[in-house]
């Protein structure tokens, strides 16, 4: 029971709500604000599940949003802001994982699978006997006949 209550409380804290970006956080310069939103969309709210800090109403997400805006106002480039946050929180904060030794499989998987599937199908295609391979067809027919007879018996 206590565990369940704890889970529910934890869930409530992580619950999304409408607040996300607060009016008082918004920068006066629309170009800077636009960049801030784009950067925030790619940074994970560390205490939430799979939510960006742009979508989250958790206090930590708000702190990070303000931090991003402070760095931008200080004149940092987008990359410098992201690097600054990663230096503090690690790669975990990036919703788009960087390509490195640990994530090579992740990034390559879709394309390797697609290629592998295509090659597999292509090689199977060639190994199929040419149409009109007589023995195969009769075997097929006999199998079907057996099956039809089998169904009759059932």
């Amino acid at each position: 029971m206590r565990r369940l209550l704890f889970a529910l409380v934890a869930l409530m804290l992580a619950l999304p709500a409408a607040h996300a970006v607060q009016p008082d956080e918004i920068l006066k310069d629309p170009a800077l604000e636009h960049r801030a939103r784009a950067i925030s969309g790619g940074l994970r709210c560390l205490v939430c599940q799979n939510q960006s800090i742009d979508d989250s109403n958790a206090p930590l997400a708000r702190d990070l949003r303000i931090l991003v805006r402070e760095r931008l106002q200080a004149g940092d480039s987008d990359q410098a802001v992201v690097d600054f946050v990663v230096a503090r929180y690690g790669d975990f904060v990036l919703l788009r994982p960087p390509f490195n030794a640990h994530t090579a499989i992740l990034w390559a998987a879709p394309f390797v699978i697609l290629l592998g599937g295509a090659i597999f199908v292509w090689s199977r295609r060639r190994s199929l006997p040419a149409p009109g391979a007589v023995s195969r067809l009769t075997e097929e027919e006999r199998r079907r006949l057996d099956q039809l007879l089998g169904e009759e018996r059932d």
């Binding site: 869930l11 996300a20 009016p23 008082d24 790619g42 994982p97 697609l114 599937g117």
Partner: protein, 658 residues
């Protein structure tokens, strides 16, 4: 007493399911027809017992019997009746019971379809199905008993999680579960075919209606969940690539591939081994989805139950059914002979390409969802895989498939003409490109990819329409002839066209999201806020009391340009039992677009308000609805009525294959 009856019925159902799982297999191996047919009666009895148990739990909820722990934890006497009812599956234990209820319902339907299935196939499928029921009934009874009593009985319940007190979420789980569990039927048929050692077009014809049914419901369930997230979570997002969403999306992708490979198998007796594998994988992904959601291994908003013992039990179920069926596949599949040859350029090949792309798309979601877990277990590194990853990998895999779809659809069976097929789509392609160019010119300086996305969506809609039109118009002269041709087209042809057009509509809606705009401000009564085409003026903020919540309701006048639309209300609620806040967005539908208002914190004497202009957003879900209608139409196709569960119908003469 009702509660004990329910509990007892559930335990009995477990016993009956054991009989359903074992006796038919024994009968099959001894060639004993009487023993083999026990499965049908067992499936019917098991369904009746689980239905009784389910009814008992529903009764406990409706009567607010808080002596039942499950009711106490998830219901409240002040809840509206409809939510008392839907609270039954708004929690771990109850939703598992619903899962088993649907599973045994499908078993009963198979048991009733006596005449239309080969008896050996039916016996094997019912046995497999019984085995799945045994696993999940044991899981329910041993780890997640919904009938556990509390003593002394509390006077009041703890209320259902407020974000689940919503009609959309009330029907989301049943839809999704019919989809998940429906795929257990294809799985059962695949295992039965492997045990039997033979498989043919008849098998495909028997399996396809179940697959279509499951797919249709899964489509609706996913769309419903997505729309719910859109209006309930309050920031207008509708898909988050959340692990739980991915868990339902993977079986959908695999199921879509399965529907297409079943067509090839039914018409041309080809791709048998692959189809069997796909049938096994689709249900395995459904089980994985259940595991992901129920174990809380990748916790998220949706996982309202986290308990390691349960996680381990489901993991064992998963390993048993996935591992067991794959082992059976490895052992028996070489016995299945491939039939039906076709040229490299043909409808069959097009559907093989479809399957490669869909399988890759599914694998992409799979890897993206489980990779962080695997990496953390192996190396201890924590990474996040979120929407940007999926946009960068999933989209490039799916776009070529969609571009190719209308062309593949116009290829002939057996041996096709690629150039001819491309030419037949020239008009659709030309119109789509023109529309995209016009949009680029019209929205100069705006997002570039959005017009291309709209063009792609249009290409799919037009391609589906023209393909259908050609089949009606070709070789018919005059309206009466066309009308009769239209009527003569198999319903599955209409279904296919609608499903493909539905994808196109959804893609237009998704692409148009790039043109949405957002504005955030602190408003006092009388002040206005503009986003895109819409302007709201805050009229008043008033308190209101609901049955089990207090709300603060903000009323807005809404304008689209100069035109005044009906006013819109957004509110913030606090559910008293859990003192938990939720937001209710104010949404006004304006043709296919929506104005979306949601409230933030009060700031001074003002209120934080966010307004969104969401152009054409409704198309996303309308597209899914059109897909589901297409699935339903295909399901009612004449040639499936043979396999449809209808007991009284006389044995129909076999329909000639088209």
């Amino acid at each position: 007493m009702i509660v004990e009856i329910g509990h007892y019925a559930l335990a009995l159902a477990l016993g009956v399911s054991v009989i359903q799982a074992l006796v038919p297999l024994w009968g099959l191996s001894r060639q004993d027809r009487a023993l083999a047919s026990v499965g049908a009666s067992a499936a019917l009895i098991s369904f009746a017992l689980v239905a009784l148990a389910f009814a008992c739990l529903v009764a406990s909820y409706v009567r607010s019997d808080f002596s039942v722990a499950n009711v106490f934890e998830n219901s409240h006497s002040a809840q509206p009746l409809i939510y008392k009812f839907t609270s039954v599956w708004g929690n771990h234990e109850g939703s598992l019971l619903l899962w088993v209820f649907i599973l045994t319902l499908f078993g009963a339907l198979v048991a009733l379809s006596r005449r239309s299935l080969p008896p050996r196939l039916r016996a094997g499928a019912l046995a497999t199905q019984g085995l799945v029921a045994v696993a999940f009934l044991a899981f329910t009874l041993l780890t997640s008993n919904p009938f556990r009593r509390l003593s002394p009985a509390p006077a009041e319940g703890q209320d259902l999680n407020p974000i689940l007190q919503d009609l959309g979420l009330a029907i989301h789980p049943p839809l999704l579960y019919v989809g998940y569990v429906g795929f257990s039927m294809t799985y059962a048929f695949a295992v039965a075919a492997l045990i039997d050692g033979r498989i043919d077009a008849m098998w495909a014809r028997a399996v396809r209606p179940w697959t279509l049914l499951a797919w249709t419901f899964l489509t609706l369930g996913i769309a419903m969940g997505s729309y719910w997230a859109y209006y309930e979570l309050g920031w207008g997002g509708w898909w988050f690539w959340d692990p739980v969403e991915n868990a339902s999306f993977m079986p959908w992708l695999a199921g879509t591939a399965l529907i297409h490979s079943l067509v090839v198998m039914e018409k041309r007796d080809a791709l048998k081994v692959w189809t069997i594998l796909l049938a096994i994988l689709t249900f395995s992904l459904s089980l994985l989805g259940t595991f992901v959601v129920r174990s809380g291994v990748l916790t998220s908003v949706h996982s309202f139950a986290s308990d390691p013992a349960r996680g381990l039990f489901i993991l064992l179920i998963l390993v048993f059914f996935v591992g067991g069926s794959l082992a059976l596949f490895a052992w028996r599949a070489p016995l299945l002979r491939q039939g039906g040859l076709f040229a490299p350029i043909s409808r069959e090949s097009a559907l093989v390409v479809n399957n490669i792309f869909l399988a890759t798309a599914c694998a992409t979601v799979f890897v993206g969802t489980l990779y962080p877990l695997a990496l953390e277990m192996l190396t201890g590194d924590k990474i996040s895989v979120g929407a940007p990853f999926f946009n960068a990998t999933f989209v490039p895999v799916v776009v070529p498939l969609l571009l190719f779809l209308p062309i593949g659809q116009s290829l002939a069976w057996k041996r096709g003409d690629l150039l001819g097929a491309a030419q037949r789509n020239l008009a659709a392609c030309g119109l789509a490109v023109l529309a995209a160019l016009a949009l680029i010119a019209f929205t100069r300086g705006g997002p570039v990819l959005a017009p291309l996305g709209v063009g792609l969506g249009l290409f799919l809609v037009l391609g589906a329409g023209f393909d259908l039109g050609e089949r009606i118009v070709a070789r018919a002269s005059g309206w009466p002839a066309m009308l009769s041709r239209a009527r003569g087209l198999p319903r599955s042809a209409w279904g296919t066209a609608l499903a493909h057009a539905g994808i196109g509509l959804s893609i237009i809606g998704i692409a148009a999201a790039a043109w949405s705009s957002e504005a955030i401000a602190v408003l006092k009564p009388g002040e206005r806020l503009t986003a895109g085409r819409y302007t709201v003026v805050l009229e008043s903020v008033v308190p209101r009391t609901g049955p089990n919540f207090r709300a603060e309701v903000a009323r807005f006048q809404l304008f689209a340009g100069d035109r005044e639309l009906a006013p819109v209300e957004a509110s913030k609620r606090v559910y008293t039992a859990r003192s938990m806040p939720t937001t209710e967005a104010g949404i006004r539908t304006d043709w296919l677009s929506q104005a979306y208002v949601s409230l933030g914190e009060a700031q001074g004497d003002g209120l934080a308000v966010r307004l969104y202009d969401k152009p054409l957003i409704l198309l996303i879900w309308i597209g899914a609805l059109v897909m589901a209608i297409g699935g339903t139409l295909s399901l009612t196709d004449r040639r499936f009525r043979l396999a449809a569960p209808r007991r009284a119908a006389p044995l129909a003469a076999p329909q000639p294959a088209e």
